[in-house]
Subunit: 330 residues, 2 copies
Amino acid sequence: MKVLITGGAGFLGRRLGLKILERGTLAGADGRPRTIDRLTLLDVAAGEAIDDARVRTLVGDIGDPAIMADAIDAETEVVFHLAAIVSGQAEADFDLGMRINLDGSRLLLERCRALGHRPRVLFTSSVAVFGGVLPTVVPEDWPVRPQSSYGAQKAIGELLLSDYSRKGFVDGRVTRLPTISVRPGRPNKAASSFASGIIREPLNGEAAVCPVPPGTRLWLLSPRKAIEALIAVQELSSDRLGDDRVLNLPGVSVSAAGMVAALGRVAGEEVAAWVRWEEDATITRIVGSWPGAWNTDRATALGLAGDKDFDAIVQAYVEDDLAAHRPLAG
Amino acid sequence: MKVLITGGAGFLGRRLGLKILERGTLAGADGRPRTIDRLTLLDVAAGEAIDDARVRTLVGDIGDPAIMADAIDAETEVVFHLAAIVSGQAEADFDLGMRINLDGSRLLLERCRALGHRPRVLFTSSVAVFGGVLPTVVPEDWPVRPQSSYGAQKAIGELLLSDYSRKGFVDGRVTRLPTISVRPGRPNKAASSFASGIIREPLNGEAAVCPVPPGTRLWLLSPRKAIEALIAVQELSSDRLGDDRVLNLPGVSVSAAGMVAALGRVAGEEVAAWVRWEEDATITRIVGSWPGAWNTDRATALGLAGDKDFDAIVQAYVEDDLAAHRPLAG
């Protein structure tokens, strides 16, 4: 069978792809494990090449029906839909966010529906669907009230995935992801970009700015655990999922100050000292509207697990990403 | 200023139009009362003509950008967006529902945004945004979980209106309407059509079928009170509304059996005897997924009121609609 990852050149998409190639099988449209003959990585720009005969790299825009028709065909049984315009950019360029995050997701669903074999489609949603006055731990049954266009577009995507699933057009799954930290590479246009930057840059001996107040709580998940969860949710049987297709993934709740303290514990105080505090009103407004934690009983009952604590997340980053590039001084 | 009503040939739209003409003014884009120079009634088919020089009847499809451009211009300060493919039809014809309920609403919002003067846009949402296991009285803070495509499309419309308002593109207001009963005229393709039919048809000396079990609770509002509420919400200041643009309108909670009992009390047992009970699985599934009541504290605090009880609703129908056509036997 064929598997598609949109956003396949992004760091999460690429890593998910590598993990899937390593496994060699995934639950297919009927839920039974199937051998992966083809893994298509679709993105707006080509990523670093992967030397594997099963990989097909496709460069294009998910808002383009021709690209969608090319990316998804009768043998495509599994789609991981990760591609999105990130929060900061979707807020700055409303039309672009609508075109990719809403129209693109809809084109993808329509293409899957047209094939008629009910592929499994996993859509990644976000903390950003929540907003307004939130309890310290957001319950499973909390209404979405996005305070950003990105959040609104993700919430609409959740509704579309759920209705397409209810109608039997696709076998949809939505994972609401905590903010992913620590992302390797460079800063991006997500409002939450700093949640990786304040760890990554200091570990590389570079200054980093934290644009939210020290007390701002974040709900975080490491890339390693995120990828485990995406695959686990894709493989869940429809029966175990039931009618409610939206799952809040586990995370760890930590304040911005607590993140920097963890960095100090793992890498040394001199590393943590690279972080400067300089509040940015827009980022504080957007990130401050997100939950600092949510209830994960349902995810836990389904066997999903997050990280132990933020120290473990920093440690995992050092092991998975930093060690390969630079020996740790601390 | 100009006022637009989409769905203006429908019974609620037409009546809303007549009430607005009678008033002669409405709060404009800046919130101050303005004289209505033009009332455009847009619908897919022409309704009964209204003899008033201020009225313009426009026949067309809200999914058509040319019609939208014609219907909304620089002088349009108020839009009542009532047009929709109803629940039963949106479930039977998914693509039509998406084209009108989602794409049409988006075209309307885009047209308003392009004008740049932030018109007031009132969007009518529905009990159908809720679903799943519901408490007897759904709290204000209950998550939407639609179990029909109509409900999903309305929930998406709520998110769009809210985000367009947050961005300052429109001054949006969403009224979640209870099921409107008693609608005059003929049955339509709404799953809730029976909620009018089981009162209206017997009062006309005709048999009616109730397709849901007698114990099914409905959340109802008379056309009279619905129109009062739509105008009142349109006239609320942005400050009083605040950031949360979605309002649950008051209603009365009554079982299907209770509706027929009220008909008996108002019009006589021989009238109520025209109702036959014959369950329809699809209608029972859709209507059974809707709330039988919701909390209305916020609406009440904003000065909105529903009907006293269902007897009063039947009585209002007899006065407003039936009396004009046929003397009541009971």
